[in-house]
């Protein structure tokens, strides 16, 4: 580097912290999720409810019934589309995604999501295994792998954004007392599995001759939070571009398989809902993929003989395990690995790292704050009611409408997963990283199963009672 170059270099001014409040989708998911919750609470306190606009298809038997109810509620569906369309457009426009591309794509995705949601309400849906998450995913996969979708359509496929909004809204349906009660067990179980999975992938990867930075990127993808884990650690340790890509591809490959496989195996074993949710939360790789699997299993509750516990327990256990047990620790993983990469992994690239504790907050998945705030808000409101009054007033007027909005956000996300997954691209990973990652998958699934169904089985079963 020449002295002249140095003189031209701009001042090293870090981006002000407050810019993240509108430059990251995590914060937008908080503004939108908590904004909708605040609206629901205000209406509830004023004696009303958000339920008119938080519409959801009712159970139906024959197609004319469905047509009739959809037609009768058309203004409500349209109002919901406008509400979500406007909120998402503002957020994505600020992030740099053109509204003229997003809105038409969102209109098509929302229309499809309406039909998928309605299909799940068919009284024969269980008989044919037409769970909305699986239908959304399968339909999306079919469309994107057989048709050539226009470029602009991609603007509406924001898997992670939709699922984060859904998670913030989910906080309103998950009592904070439950998070306090079950959080430590979730963290303990997740820590055992995360560390075992990471060291398996890292060790096997190294023995197969992979660079340590690559092995760490693969390990974080399998152990912490899937695609987010891979991309965060790739940046922290300075992995090669194609190593980040391969790691992400492997996460998606296994995550897609597990969306279908984990609920089916749990169903065959008739696991209680809380136990299945904990297993999925321990062993799935990406948030959105895990929610698809947990939501599918939640749909079995009360319909499939032999499966005990209420449906929400599968989602609650999954959320505790994945979000509280695994996702929130990504900053610490990044800090530790960047220090190791900087001080111990020599490199001939000439690139030097610098790690500080600020890394923990910078990489913290901020949407979790919205999830916790939503949980605290509704828990405080519920404290003023007896159980009978809570069930009679708070649930139908406040909790159920928020839960419906959550379901919409998740279906939008599941459908978007299918529409963004090109199966041909998932076969591009070479053999050595595939073997290393798959070794971790085996450890992850078996250990997660043993901890959920044997060691902590009483705990997770009680969650569903």
């Amino acid at each position: 580097m020449t002295a002249k170059t140095l003189a031209l270099a701009p001042q090293n001014n870090p981006t002000p912290w407050w810019r993240e409040l509108y430059q990251k989708e995590d914060w937008w998911s908080i503004w939108i999720g908590l904004g909708l919750l605040a609206l629901a609470v205000l209406l509830f306190v004023a004696g009303g409810s958000l339920k008119w606009i938080a519409v959801a298809p009712a159970k139906w038997h024959a197609l004319p019934d469905l047509g009739q109810q959809l037609l009768a509620n058309l203004p409500r569906y349209f109002a919901l589309f406008v509400l979500l369309g406007v909120l998402f457009s503002i957020a994505l426009k600020t992030l740099g995604i053109a509204t003229r591309q997003f809105l038409p794509a969102f209109a098509l995705i929302f229309s499809a999501a309406t039909l998928i949601f309605a299909l799940g309400q068919w009284d024969q849906a269980d008989h044919y295994n037409l769970e909305p998450p699986l239908v959304a995913l399968a339909l999306g996969l079919l469309i994107t792998n057989t048709l050539k979708l226009p470029e602009w359509f991609g603007a509406g496929l924001r898997v992670e954004f939709y699922v984060k909004v859904g998670i913030v809204l989910l906080g309103a349906t998950l009592p904070f007392t439950l998070i306090i009660w079950a959080g430590p067990v979730a963290i303990g179980q997740a820590a055992i599995v995360s560390l075992s999975t990471f060291f398996t992938i890292f060790t096997v990867g190294k023995r197969l001759g992979l660079d340590r930075r690559f092995a760490a990127t693969l390990g974080a993808g399998g152990a912490v939070c899937g695609v987010s884990g891979s991309i965060a650690i790739a940046g922290a340790v300075g992995a090669k571009k194609e190593e980040a890509s391969i790691s992400i591809t492997l996460v998606i490959f296994w995550a897609i398989i597990f969306i279908f496989a984990l609920p089916l195996i749990a169903r065959a074993l008739q696991l209680p809902t809380g136990v299945a949710g904990a297993w999925i939360g321990t062993s799935e790789f990406a948030d959105a993929a895990g929610f698809a699997a947990a939501q599918t299993y939640a749909g079995y509750a009360g319909h499939i003989p032999g499966i005990s516990g209420h449906g929400e327990a599968a989602i609650n256990a999954y959320t505790l395990m994945k979000v509280i047990g695994r996702d929130v620790w990504i900053g610490i993983w990044a800090l530790v690995l960047s220090i190791i990469a900087t001080t111990r992994w020599t490199s001939d690239t000439g690139i030097e790292g610098q790690a500080g504790t600020g890394e923990i907050w910078r990489r913290f998945p901020k949407f979790v704050l919205g999830f916790l705030l939503a949980s605290i808000t509704v828990t405080l409101i519920a404290r003023g009611y007896s159980y009978a009054d809570y069930s009679k007033q708070v649930v139908p007027q406040l909790v159920t409408p928020v839960k419906n909005l959550r379901t919409w956000a998740f279906i939008l996300s599941f459908f978007s997963i299918g529409l963004t997954t090109r199966l041909a691209e998932l076969t591009r990973a070479s053999a050595r990283p595939f073997y290393a990652f798959s070794a971790g998958v085996v450890v992850n699934v078996i250990l997660g199963f043993i901890l959920s169904t044997q060691v902590f089985v009483g705990f997770w079963t009680a969650l569903g009672q």
């Binding site: 580097m1 170059t5 140095l6 031209l8 270099a9 701009p10 090293n12 981006t15 993240e20 990251k24 989708e25 995590d26 914060w27 740099g96 496929l157 924001r158 898997v159 992670e160 954004f161 984060k164 939070c225 899937g226 695609v227 987010s228 991309i231 965060a232 790739a234 940046g235 922290a236 300075g238 992995a239 090669k240 571009k241 194609e242 190593e243 980040a244 890509s245 992400i248 998606i252 995550a255 790789f285 990406a286 900053g331 960047s338 220090i339 900087t342 001080t343 000439g350 690139i351 030097e352 790292g353 610098q354 790690a355 500080g356 910078r362 990489r363 998945p365 997963i417 963004t420 691209e425």
Partner: protein
Amino acid sequence: MNAKLSGATQIRCADCRYFDNTPRALEAAVPGLRVMGSAYSSVRSGDGLCSRHERYLSGEHRCALFESTPLT
């Protein structure tokens, strides 16, 4: 806590002309990133792609081949 090697330069990659951390560019360059993740998420922090080294780096990395972004 602060781990740091003796630096060839004190100027971070975030200010280098070869460094691109715009979300749109990342999602285009890393296939699959938006399938179950996102370039707009907090966990990515300010990481970006270095076209000189073909690596995915934190903006806080440093390198002797640093070149400033053109002044506009």
